[in-house]
């Protein structure tokens, strides 16, 4: 009986508070207990998912003397891994050999982690040799993740801001080592990044058009060092969205 009375009283209270609202006025607090919105959760950045692009039947960009992007980025991945592990990061790779996981398989590995960032490594066919560019996605509509449910096709939507911050940190390191590289992260609709629910960047070296593979081999340790230092600089900014779908 007392429960029913409480429910009626609560209903009247709710009606009264609804009536009291004026157009344009801030929405009054609901008359029932709510879960206090949690402050942004500071989560330690622990895991780096490294993605050596292409592989298997997809060699990626191909250059003179049989240079294949898929082979080079795998070598680069191992160097980046070593540099990151030296900084205390845990590293996962989307591939360790000449396999070709799908875009979604690669994203799945990153999306299953908590406290992770995602770095996909590429070598272009064009561009000024000896330069490196970092890409993040352009703005995506935030409603893509409405309702707190991760929309796989727009999983990156909540992380675009963090991804750009991460990209700027890495690009800032790269421009010190590779003259002619841009000073800031670039935006491009990179397919691999769209389905990744973590701060995610693509790093692209120029290019497979070099006459000698050793030119690219010489770049790799410096690229690895720049990524590791950029990530270390980004680490304090790593605050994951508290609620799925919220902008960080």
């Amino acid at each position: 009986m007392s429960g029913a009375l409480f429910a009626i009283a609560a209903a009247f209270g709710s009606l009264a508070s609804t009536r009291a609202q004026q157009p344009g006025a801030p929405i009054a607090a609901p008359p029932y207990p709510t879960v206090a919105p949690s402050p942004p959760q500071r989560t330690g950045l622990n895991i780096v998912v490294l993605d050596a692009a292409h592989g298997g039947t997809d060699p990626g960009a191909r250059g003179a003397q049989g240079i294949r992007e898929s082979d080079l980025v795998l070598d680069l991945t191992f160097l980046v891994r070593r540099a990151l592990e030296a900084q205390g990061f845990q590293v996962l790779q989307t591939r360790n050999g000449n396999e070709n996981p799908s875009f979604d398989d690669r994203s799945t590995l990153a999306n299953a982690q908590r406290g992770a960032v995602f770095v996909t490594l590429h070598i272009s066919s064009t561009g000024l040799p000896g330069t490196v560019r970092v890409y993040a996605l352009p703005d995506m509509p935030s409603r893509a993740n409405a309702g707190g449910i991760l929309n796989w096709d727009f999983a990156q939507a909540s992380y675009v801001g963090l991804s750009r911050k991460f990209g700027d940190a890495v690009q800032g390191q790269l421009v010190q080592r590779f003259k002619g590289s841009p000073a800031n992260v670039q935006t491009a609709s990179v397919r691999q990044l769209r389905t990744t629910a973590a701060p995610a960047i693509a790093v692209e070296l120029s290019s497979v058009s070099v006459q000698d593979r050793s030119d690219l081999d010489k770049m790799m340790p410096r690229v690895a060092d720049a990524i590791a230092r950029g990530l270390a600089a980004f680490r304090p900014s790593y605050v994951l969205p508290a609620v799925a779908g919220a902008q960080p």
Binding site: I123, S125, P138, A188
Partner: protein, 235 residues
């Protein structure tokens, strides 16, 4: 046969060989040229299959802006004014400017789209979404890489923006199909914003839930194309 006749015979044979040596390369060139005329290349055959865009000489000649690679910065696009008779009909106009873009600039090093690619069809939906359907060569011949693929899409989007104001968003198809990427990197499942001022999120009922993505990775695209001083070319 006495020795005198033998000498004559050898002299005649030597003369014939000399004439043949001079004439043979010319003959070879002639045969090659006539074969090229008689047999259209694979690319020519493909272009003939696609509907030719009719050009009406009565249409006003305008300075159309084509966005090709900048000759100063390989990573940027630069607007080049080309003298063209453009139709007032937005679909025809879009076909005309895209075919000109595909034909490439005078300096072929500055082209943004592969020479063997062709525009198969162009549609304009009532909400301002342009659908450009290209041949498979757009995917197979565009140099693989984020930068080169983004530049290719930017050049299409910026050229449409500059010349066909009715188009607000762009969807790129390859041989009538939606594909995941252009050449392994750039996402073609999305819509690209063409007219940044007019474009609003589309209310489309076809395909996936398409969200517009700004095609603005290049410095020119990111800034205002109107502020860039176009170079002029006659076509």
């Amino acid at each position: 046969m006495n020795g005198r006749w033998r000498r004559w015979l050898l002299a005649v044979l030597a003369a014939v060989l000399l004439i043949a040596a001079i004439y043979f390369p010319k003959l070879k060139r002639k045969v090659k040229t006539s074969a090229q005329i008689a047999q259209p290349s694979e690319e020519q055959a493909r272009r003939e299959l696609t509907t030719a865009t009719p050009i009406n000489p009565a249409d006003p000649r305008v300075k159309a802006k084509m966005f090709w690679t900048s000759d100063e910065d390989e990573s940027a696009l630069s607007p080049i004014a080309v003298d063209l008779a453009l139709s007032p009909d937005p679909v025809l106009r879009a076909k005309q400017v895209l075919n000109t873009l595909l034909a490439g600039p005078v300096n072929s090093d500055l082209r943004t789209l592969p020479a063997d690619a062709a525009l198969l069809a162009f549609y304009l939906l009532p909400d301002g979404t342009g659908v450009a359907d290209f041949s498979e060569a757009l995917g197979t011949s565009t140099p693989s890489g984020i930068q080169s693929e983004q530049r290719a899409v930017d050049s299409i989007a910026r050229t449409l923006e500059a010349n066909v104001p009715q188009i607000k968003r762009l969807k790129i198809l390859i041989h009538g199909q939606e594909v995941d990427t252009l050449a392994g990197h750039l996402d073609l499942t999305q819509l690209f914003i063409v007219n940044t001022k007019a474009a609003q999120p589309p209310t489309l009922s076809y395909g996936l839930s398409l969200q517009p993505t700004p095609a603005n990775a290049s410095p020119v695209a990111a800034g205002s194309s109107a502020t860039a001083k176009p170079k002029t070319a006659k076509r």
